[in-house]
């Protein structure tokens, strides 16, 4: 019999927590999570089979971070950059800091704002009992950050984070992000995961929690770019309070295998989410994305839009889950999932799943697996643009639902460049 995770890692977990001067309660949470992970099941998603990726077998969670070659950084006042768990840049404008905004690595937050972190960490939607991978994320967490926006503060500047996975080093990437928008606040947060180097085979386990308290407004954009040797579990979950709004714009531009679990709980009356996800798969990678919105609050609105493109012999699955709970009267659940297939060898799925336990609601869904829009191709080619270039432009149009949502031009350009690069690679036979 293999030694259990607990036997293998308990000492390392305790050592790591001590070394980072984590408060006792957090170290205990980690140990509890490690214990529980043994018995908890892997999360299951319709038509997404990722067992063989072995995401539940840690390999090197607590290896030291090795230095990485330079990464170009955006010019902005509010930026956090982490190489694995090592914080490279941590900037917040004086203006925002003076008003009480907190934006730090997770250990600084645990030291300086333990009460705030404890109140919300794995405590609003998902928790340590949700599944094995979330428990492992907490037990073996080796990087992360905390963003807090105080009551009634409207932050106009975007807050940016760049999280780098060192692909040349053997190290598990266990990352946890907590974003809390207090009542009546407004914020735009952008995060970008990327691999620097690609020599080693690694696993990544990321949990991102977004708490949008009553009357707050959160705009969350993500650009995910893990390398082809990284297999990733990526869980993003949001809590939305009364009359609060949480919008997601996620670009899943990874080169490796990914299982994405994007969930939003519309707990408040009149709460609202627009969850937009775009993805491109190439080569022989598999991306399975399960986007779920649960309407609990009366008059809550949950909309899902997923657009993806599949090239070569890759696989892309979009599940769209709309769940309206009994009592969520007057609520609305809509979803659209569309997949473009550019290759006969590719596999694509767009599955709408509607679970409706209340009568007084509106709900709808659209799903399709199709080909590139011929009228748009013709229009572009009639201006002399060759077929492959035209195809990339039409696809960009198809993915624009997320591109146009990204508020910062610089990040938008990064995303566009990423799409271009991935498509150029994918168009090769």
């Amino acid at each position: 019999m293999r030694p259990s995770l607990k036997e293998n890692y308990l000492d390392q977990v305790v050592d790591f927590a001590n070394k980072n001067e984590e408060p006792n309660w957090f170290s205990e949470l980690r140990q509890d999570a490690l214990n529980k992970s043994a018995d908890l099941a892997l999360p299951q998603y319709e038509k997404i089979n990722y067992r063989s990726w072995r995401l539940d077998r840690p390999k090197a969670p607590f290896a030291e971070d090795e230095n990485i070659s330079d990464v170009t950084l955006p010019e902005t006042d509010n930026l956090l950059v982490q190489n694995g768990g090592t914080t490279v840049v941590s900037k917040l404008s004086d203006k925002l800091a003076d008003k009480g905004v907190i934006f730090t690595d997770i250990w600084t937050a645990l030291k300086e704002y333990p009460d705030l972190v404890q109140k919300y960490f794995l405590n609003t939607t998902i928790n340590v009992d949700s599944n094995k991978l979330i428990a492992l994320n907490l037990a073996l967490m080796n990087g992360g950050s905390f963003l807090y926006i105080p009551k009634n503060l409207k932050v106009e500047e975007a807050i940016q984070a760049i999280y780098i996975q060192n692909g040349d080093e053997k190290k598990d990437y266990n990352h946890h992000v907590l974003v809390v928008a207090d009542e009546g606040s407004e914020v735009t947060y952008l995060e970008n995961y990327l691999s620097n180097g690609n020599k080693e085979t690694n696993i990544a386990n990321i949990v991102v929690e977004v708490v949008a308290l009553d009357n707050s407004n959160v705009h969350f954009s993500a650009l995910d770019q893990f390398g082809s040797n990284v297999s990733t579990y990526l869980n993003r979950h949001g809590y939305v309070g009364n009359d609060a709004r949480l919008d997601w714009a996620i670009g899943s531009m990874n080169d490796g295998h990914v299982v994405g679990d994007f969930g939003t709980e519309l707990r408040g009356e009149g709460s609202h989410t627009e969850a937009k996800v775009v993805a491109i798969t190439t080569s022989d990678q598999v991306q399975g994305i399960d986007t779920k919105v649960t309407n609990y609050g009366k008059h809550s609105i949950g909309h899902i839009l997923q657009h993806g493109v599949i090239l070569q012999s890759s696989t892309l699955t979009f599940n769209g889950v709309g769940h309206i709970v009994k009592g969520a009267r007057g609520s609305d659940s809509q979803q659209e999932s569309r997949v473009l297939m550019l290759s006969r060898k590719a596999r694509g799925d767009a599955d709408p799943i509607l679970l409706i336990d209340e009568n007084d609601v509106t709900a709808g869904h659209a799903a399709s697996v199709g080909r590139v829009n011929e009228d748009q191709m013709y229009y572009l080619m009639s201006r002399g643009i060759d077929e492959k270039t035209a195809q990339r432009l039409v696809i960009r149009g198809f993915l624009s639902s997320v591109i146009t949502e990204i508020p910062e031009k610089e990040v938008r350009d990064r995303m566009t460049a990423m799409i271009e690069r991935k498509l150029v690679n994918g168009q090769q036979k």
Binding site: Q376, Y378, Y379, S382, R383, G384, A390, G397, S400
Partner: protein
């Protein structure tokens, strides 16, 4: 000098409902040279757009007989992008909208598609040209920075088609109902754009339902199309005569047995 010849052209479209081919063009003949502006007028549903699409190479339109020659060589086997790079341009009746791709980026891609990879247009040169052309069309930078035709009004789309024409500078431009939905001021602006292209190295085929446009872009020749054929050709006066008599009058004059869809 370049020439564009349409010879005994027969074109069919496949009916979406019954899957059968339906012949729309029934033997069109037309010869144009650069330096000339031709106008095609005709009632709705007569095949004017079909002719323009067949010349450009839209695969939905099948050439079943006849030929299209550019400088004496058949272009029937050429895909649409090659025809464009050879010097053909079609301002479409219904331009597509593509979000996520800006007008500027699209026009640069179009211009660069005509240039070698190591000789792409420098950004400053492009912007300078764009400024000059926008000015002719009373357009602002704001419009060019927007996504391709996205959220444009009908009139803005037409203007944008002409901006592309001025930027790309083709040898032959087919303008399909570039006047529809334009008020008189916009019509003047669009005409000013087209007229700025006039010269020995540019030829145009202007498709219109109304004579009004031809007051602003005066053609060298006018052709009347009915029921998939060109039934009469003449000078600019022909358009005026048509305006007075109407299509029904002309049809009866010529003793043609064509049904007009917009006949009252």
């Amino acid at each position: 000098m370049s020439t564009l010849e349409v010879k005994d052209l027969h074109v069919s479209v496949v009916d979406d409902e019954n899957g059968k081919g339906q012949e729309i063009l029934k033997g069109v003949n037309l010869t144009m040279s650069t330096g000339e502006i031709h106008a095609i007028m005709g009632p709705n549903g007569t095949g004017k757009s079909t002719l323009s699409q067949a010349i450009m190479g839209n695969s939905a339109y099948k050439v079943t007989q006849g030929d299209i020659l550019f400088d004496g060589k058949s272009i029937l086997e050429m895909p649409v992008d090659e025809r464009a790079r050879a010097g053909l341009f079609l301002a479409m009746q219904y331009p597509q909208e593509i979000a996520g791709v800006t007008n500027v980026e699209f026009m640069r891609a179009a211009i660069n598609s005509r240039r070698a990879d190591d000789d792409q247009i420098p950004i400053m040169e492009f912007m300078k040209k764009l400024d000059a052309k926008q000015e002719i069309l009373d357009m602002t930078d704001e419009m060019s920075e927007r996504y391709l035709n996205e959220g444009f009004s009908g009139g803005e789309k037409k203007r944008n088609e002409i901006l592309q024409l001025l930027m790309i500078e083709p040898k032959f431009a087919i303008l399909d109902e570039i006047d529809s939905g334009l008020d008189i001021d916009a019509l003047k602006v669009v005409s000013r754009g087209v007229n700025s292209m006039r010269g020995d190295n540019f030829g145009s085929l202007i498709i219109t339902h109304y004579q009004r446009l031809l007051n602003y872009i005066v053609p060298d020749q006018v052709h009347i199309m009915m029921d998939g054929r060109i039934v009469k050709s003449g000078g600019p006066d022909l358009a005026k005569k048509l305006e007075e008599e109407g299509y029904a009058g002309l049809r009866d004059d010529l003793n043609i047995d064509a049904k007009l869809t917009d006949e009252i």
